[in-house]
Subunit: 472 residues, 2 copies
Amino acid sequence: MKKLLCTLAISSLTFITSVTAQEFTPKQIEQVSEIRANALNSNLAFDILSSLTTEVGPRLPGTKNDAIAVQWAQDKFKELGYDKVWIEPATFPSWRRYSESGAIITPSAQSLHLTALGGSVSTPKEGITAEVIQFETLDELIAAPKNIAKDKIVFINYKMNRHIDGNGYGPATRARRTGAIEAAKKGALGFMMRSVSTSHHRFAHTGASQYKDGIKQIVKVAIPNPDADQISRLTALNKTVKVNIKVQTEDLGEGKSFNVIGQINGTQNPEQYVLIGGHLDSWDLGTGALDDGAGVALTMAAAKFIADVKRPKRSVRVVLFAAEELGLWGAKAYAKAHAKDKHNIIAAAESDFGADFIYGFQSNVEAASLPVVREIAKQLSPLNIEFIGANKASNGPDLIPLRKLGGLAGFALHTDGTDYFDYHHTADDTLDKVDPKKIQQNAAAYAVFAFMAADADTTIKGKIINLLVLRD
Amino acid sequence: MKKLLCTLAISSLTFITSVTAQEFTPKQIEQVSEIRANALNSNLAFDILSSLTTEVGPRLPGTKNDAIAVQWAQDKFKELGYDKVWIEPATFPSWRRYSESGAIITPSAQSLHLTALGGSVSTPKEGITAEVIQFETLDELIAAPKNIAKDKIVFINYKMNRHIDGNGYGPATRARRTGAIEAAKKGALGFMMRSVSTSHHRFAHTGASQYKDGIKQIVKVAIPNPDADQISRLTALNKTVKVNIKVQTEDLGEGKSFNVIGQINGTQNPEQYVLIGGHLDSWDLGTGALDDGAGVALTMAAAKFIADVKRPKRSVRVVLFAAEELGLWGAKAYAKAHAKDKHNIIAAAESDFGADFIYGFQSNVEAASLPVVREIAKQLSPLNIEFIGANKASNGPDLIPLRKLGGLAGFALHTDGTDYFDYHHTADDTLDKVDPKKIQQNAAAYAVFAFMAADADTTIKGKIINLLVLRD
């Protein structure tokens, strides 16, 4: 870590003298260097994250903590000297987890560290107790005969793979999203899955999931990898495995929260803005440090680092989206509210993949904007961030609704996600999982990107047509 | 890992030709090599451990699972071809954990992943809710004014350090053992401590603890490091921290279980024996894989590896002690039952420190036995085990009562404990934490040690006076 930071510092110094910017004046490049160096020497992002996760804690949309977080964010923006701070409403289907526990009953008593998937119905107070029927994949369940799971608990044993870009997540979430629907179709009393997680610790992974009209709503839970291993060892021994699942939850109908927005005003075209941010809500199990306290904290810090050096030509707007975890509800509200002035968003990037080192930078813009993009990439390289020239970046989940409107100039600052799914959506997503040095690099990258995009002579523009890749 | 095992294999071959044994014939040394090689190539220890932790699971003394484990152990000894298999009774104070949960209530709602310390009393059903008063150490609490904790929950924030020999454990357990007594003396309603743990995951560590006659019995719990960090951050911000602790437990009076014993009979002096083993019971939170399923499995396998090559002159006895976690109750019963024939134990070693690589070998014997010890050490060195010549070994906890009788020839096979306290006494102590390759080296070491001690010409003898070091 120390070695890398020394390299960064030396590279920064060298860079100031050797760069030959075309889209930016030497003075602007000097300002970029100053912003970057300040960010690398500041604990601000980590301190903001510590404040959010410690003083607020978990932030499930619609809870009291969520309301505290909305107030916290406004106060923090003001404390940081943002020029404009405001909120915009969002609604979502509100859901609460009250209690949950589980156990293997047969062949011998053992606890199961389960967690209910988002939106799960409750069991009776005493829980449901039934035999487990195991499937290796969702497709195996779908292909099975109609009544195969009658009065049983379906268990899907699919294991997520680990990868720097998190490419195991999408395939693994299929069972989470629709597994309970398919299990109910086969007559099951309950649905249980191996967590969408790379952790070998006993933390179950929650997340958004669905029911379907006309299909019985059954309880749906995830169990950690060690617990899933245990059940699959028992079934491999041809043992009859019975489990008990107790879950108490509540569907509270429509809930309300707010996107919280802070802006550093531009000096020449303040109506135009670079949008950066993260989502303010989190699942209820941990304190949402990696998901997505980090994104909130580092983008709040990034715009402050910019303002400390110079207000750019265009504005830098930090949007902290509401109710992302329950289905991008804050993001949908933002896109709806800003559809008419969407052309004012001249560049956008969301941080929602933890706070390990950022290793890559990619754009998704019209060809005429590429010279500016390449200048930004040059100024990110001292942070050990490689330029990925494909110009096909997909963005953070909260940018999807904006992207659907067409023409968004989206950017990706690729975070190393190798360990992200060890913690994501679990009780173990706590502050100690964030490295104070790594989040400095993240904040520096967002500050460099946002400043340069906002201060460039050429206004960046998006492509008219964009493909969508979903992740939450 | 693969590299090390290759080194081991090559070293073994070289060693056969170069050794010049004095206490052992070349034939015996050849047998040692065969035993060692077989052990390094066998999955038996891991398979036994998988069977115990999967089919039985957690084994709290006095529970149904404990009784299942006692039957499992007898069956497994017989299946492995042991010559004699029997049980010996032990009693202990029986205690059950039924449910437990916790939360920070003020300044904002957050869960606490607490666990009750062994023997803790219950709270009322709704739990106790009170302000936290934080102390950095047990001594700071002891030194505080008499009523300082009146109607509060005492929190001791002492953090265990990580070390290969686990030397942080003893100091950290002081608060666990007597913290609730000292807190009650200061008027506290409850006692909460940072777990005796090196883990940065949210697993609380349980363990043996005490009450004292005449001092009010208050609920006592431990919280994981991330939760303790959270509370200490809140107190550092001068926030009033209120927590709720819900614990349901039961004191069941005297419980009964059994030491399970398997023996490979000696050919010349079968009444004399080398004692190896571990403890069969475990805490209820995990499946007791590292503590102490590993010790059980690898010593059961070790004697089997010996019998497969040759029955030695003296017997090899594997003792699986009962109710170690609640206070060495099986070990005390064994020492009491065998006090009269204690001279028949010619060497003893317990494995109760997980199953990472064994790195050191040390004796605690009379001077005349040292030549044999050095020959054993030579045959352990191909396993990358260093001879520690101090001849002052302290032994596994279950050997303490035997050692107190005087004259025990105790041995230590030092396991690398750097990561042991990441899992010890937590829900995360599960099979996947044991490396199948490492437990092979452990089993090989115990097999070499037990065979050579049992087959030596010279009978090993202990010192008359031994100092005691306690660990459970």
